[in-house]
């Protein structure tokens, strides 16, 4: 019994920090009130609302989620815009289409040469495909479009998947944009909401104007000190 008490006391003593360490900690807290955060590099998208809102583009080595809670909010428009801008910049884009809904005839024919289109039937195929493309690391931007997948399918995706995606994107230093029908990606560095209410009259508006009027709001930004929503443009 005495021996046990002795071991207990000695372990408590070793765990308790000494006064010098406490002083050092308080000194560090005074000089550096917040943890230093190195600015993350970004992949410019060429879309003014996105780049302005995110400070230059989609963060590299991280996941960006755009939640489109209603149809006709501009998510497909955003994908078409991303593809066109990527082509203009001599970049390539991988689109993992969660429900095979992408319309290539809605894009300028030459720009399609910059696209790798993966036509999945369900969320499981889409997740596996995105996993492979992220691990591959050859394409700087991977877009995973899950907006049309049933919510039941998306709820079946374990949260560990998103953390794995985050880790792979970080390792390969590439940008991953995930479009979802509702907030879903737990490990997203930035979560945006898309709420550009498009009407039938929008069909006569040039697409470049619609892209410039995209209504994006930051719902969450991991490195941001403020959680207030920032409105880029509410046309």
């Amino acid at each position: 019994m005495n021996t046990n008490i002795f071991y207990l006391c000695s372990s408590v003593v070793s765990v308790l920090p000494s006064s010098k360490i406490i002083e050092l900690r308080s000194l560090l807290c005074e000089r550096f009130p917040t943890a230093p955060v190195s600015p993350r590099a970004s992949t410019p998208t060429g879309l003014e609302p996105v780049d302005a809102l995110l400070g230059g583009g989609l963060p590299r080595g991280a996941l960006t989620e755009i939640a489109r809670q209603q149809p006709a909010m501009g998510a497909a428009l955003l994908v078409q815009g991303l593809l066109l801008e990527a082509w203009k910049r001599g970049q390539r884009l991988a689109l993992v289409d969660g429900h095979d809904r992408f319309d290539p005839t809605g894009q300028a024919a030459p720009a399609l040469a910059a696209l790798l289109w993966v036509r999945s039937d369900n969320a499981t195929q889409a997740i596996r495909s995105a996993d492979l493309l992220l691990r591959d690391g050859n394409l700087p931007l991977v877009v995973l479009d899950l907006t049309d997948n049933p919510v039941r399918e998306l709820r079946g995706i374990p949260s560990a998947t998103w953390f794995r995606f985050q880790r792979i994107a970080e390792e390969n230093d590439l940008s991953c944009l995930i479009l979802t029908p509702q907030p879903l990606v737990t490990s997203a560095e930035v979560r945006l909401s898309l709420s550009s209410a498009l009407r039938l009259t929008s069909l006569d508006v040039p697409r470049s104007d619609l892209l410039a009027q995209l209504d994006l709001q930051v719902l969450r930004r991991r490195t941001s000190t403020s959680s207030a929503a920032i409105t880029a443009f509410a046309g």
Binding site: A72, Q80, R89, R101, L112, L116, S129, R199, L200
Partner: protein
């Protein structure tokens, strides 16, 4: 000096090229010729040690060696083994003659005599890597070199032909049967005994053929080589006696073929730019597939993975009984990444990823779409991704038709719908799996038709853009009085 490279038991070696584990086992090659059925024509050293000799029937051979393995001739593999021999020899000397099946003769005029042993051993090592065992003989003329090669283990150089030839049996020169019988009748059994006779006297009595035989026995024949050039073909084929039903043994053979192909190409300082795979099934059906290697390589692991992912999606009706793999060679090239251009960092890794993606989503569900030259809705074709060259940034976009409005998300296939229309045909109410409700506003009709000259592909469609509720814009299509929801704007 001349060198003769001889592949002993050539047909058997060709048949066993992809079964190196049998090289030290008792194996015999059977042929269907012979009055009493299949007889043995060639056998391995282990079989010979068990007193299995050519001319025995299969049952006789099994009585002498119960563990004997049998193989049949494989002409396609013999052709490739002969090609491998020529290609390997070509790397050592351009003056090359294909003397016989599994025998080539080289003119060594450009090589120093002191180097003969070194290059010959290097040659046998290279052939051994191709699963071929060679014997090399070096002599003053081509015929003498061939006789020497028959006794090399694996290399023999003869500088004193008379001493080497004298003890050899007369049958080693394969004389005409009549000549052989007469000489044996004279008590001449060795080449030394023949050359001991006066050349002219032999010729007077037995004719010109005997003079030629005497010259060969004395090692004096001189003849020019009939130069041959190997074909620039890199192909490996395997014929299977028993069909393969599962993937693993097939992949095992594919890997062995790749090892051989890359080794042969490496001998020529080349790498693989494309692979052509051919499978023959027991119902005589063929499967063929070409694999373009984005970044030409000689790495077997990379090439193997490319082929492996294809096999994961392949299903055949019957067993596989033949495999052929060809490589298109290319010179290895270095790649300089551009500062502003987005070349793929690892093109082969990307090709492997594409193959894996194909295994997940299926063929024709992955790639780059190309819009077809038609107004038919949703008309596009899928093409293989070609990201090998870096795309150049585009200074200005000259679109043939500027895009308006939000993008469409298509339903594939389009959803059946019930639409109530007014007297003018304008949609008033929609019932469908995608949406239902009163149509607030509609734009249309947008009519289109085409391919009326083709019965199977003709199309005639009317489209409407409708808004059911704020933020719910759909495109409807009607053909042959049937309404469908084509997609939704987003």
């Amino acid at each position: 000096m001349f060198a003769c490279i001889l592949l002993p038991s050539f047909q058997l070696q060709a048949a066993l090229r992809f079964e190196p584990q049998l090289h030290r086992q008792p194996v015999a090659l059977l042929t269907s010729e012979g009055p009493s059925g299949a007889i043995i024509t060639q056998c391995t050293t282990a079989a010979r040690a068990a007193e299995v000799i050519p001319g025995l029937t299969a049952s006789q051979a099994l009585a002498r060696c119960p563990g004997l393995h049998f193989r049949r001739r494989m002409p396609a593999q013999e052709d490739i083994a002969a090609e491998v021999l020529k290609q390997t020899a070509w790397a050592f000397s351009p003056w090359l003659e294909e003397t016989a099946e599994g025998v080539v003769t080289l003119d060594l005029r450009s090589r120093r005599e002191s180097e003969h042993r070194a290059w010959a051993l290097d040659f046998t090592r290279r052939l051994l890597a191709r699963q071929l065992h060679a014997r090399i003989g070096v002599g003053a003329n081509p015929d003498l070199a061939r006789l020497i090669a028959g006794r090399a283990k694996p290399f023999l150089q003869v500088d004193e032909p008379a001493a080497f030839l004298a003890p050899l049996a007369l049958s080693d020169l394969q004389p005409e049967p009549v000549l052989k019988m007469i000489l044996h009748g004279w008590g001449v059994h060795t080449l030394g005994a023949l050359t001991a006779l006066p050349r002219e006297a032999v010729g007077d009595r037995l004719g010109p053929a005997s003079v030629e035989l005497w010259d060969r026995a004395a090692g004096r024949t001189e003849r020019p080589l009939h130069f041959a050039r190997p074909v620039e073909s890199f192909r490996e084929t395997i014929e299977l006696e028993h069909g393969l039903e599962t993937l693993e043994p097939l992949l095992f053979l594919v890997r062995r073929c790749l090892l051989q192909l890359t080794g042969r190409l490496a001998d020529r300082w080349l790498v693989v730019a494309a692979l052509q795979l051919g499978l023959r099934c027991s119902d005589d059906s063929h499967h063929e597939r070409e694999f373009i290697i984005p970044d030409p390589t000689g790495d077997v692991d990379v090439l193997f993975r490319v082929v492996q992912h294809y096999f994961e999606t392949l299903r055949t009706e019957t067993t596989v009984v033949g495999l052929e793999l060809s490589a298109r060679p290319a010179e290895p090239v270095g790649q300089q990444f551009g500062m502003f251009q987005a070349s793929l960092k690892n093109p082969n890794g990307f090709a492997e990823t594409l193959a894996r993606l194909t295994a997940i989503v299926g063929p024709n569900r992955l790639g780059t779409p190309r819009i077809e030259s038609t107004h038919r809705p949703d008309a596009f074709t899928m093409h293989d991704v070609d990201f090998r060259t870096a795309p150049a940034p585009v200074a200005s976009v000259a679109e043939d038709s500027p895009r308006y409005g939000p993008a469409l998300r298509r339903y594939r296939p389009a959803l059946a719908a019930t639409v109530l229309c007014d007297a003018s045909g304008r949609p008033l109410h929609l019932e469908s799996a995608a949406a239902r409700g009163h149509v607030h506003s509609a734009l249309g009709p947008w009519r289109g038709s085409g391919d009326w000259w083709e019965e199977k592909t003709t199309w005639d469609e009317e489209e409407w853009d409708i808004e059911i509720a704020p933020g719910q814009i759909l495109r409807l299509g009607r053909s042959a009085s049937a309404w469908r929801v084509v997609g939704g704007y987003d």
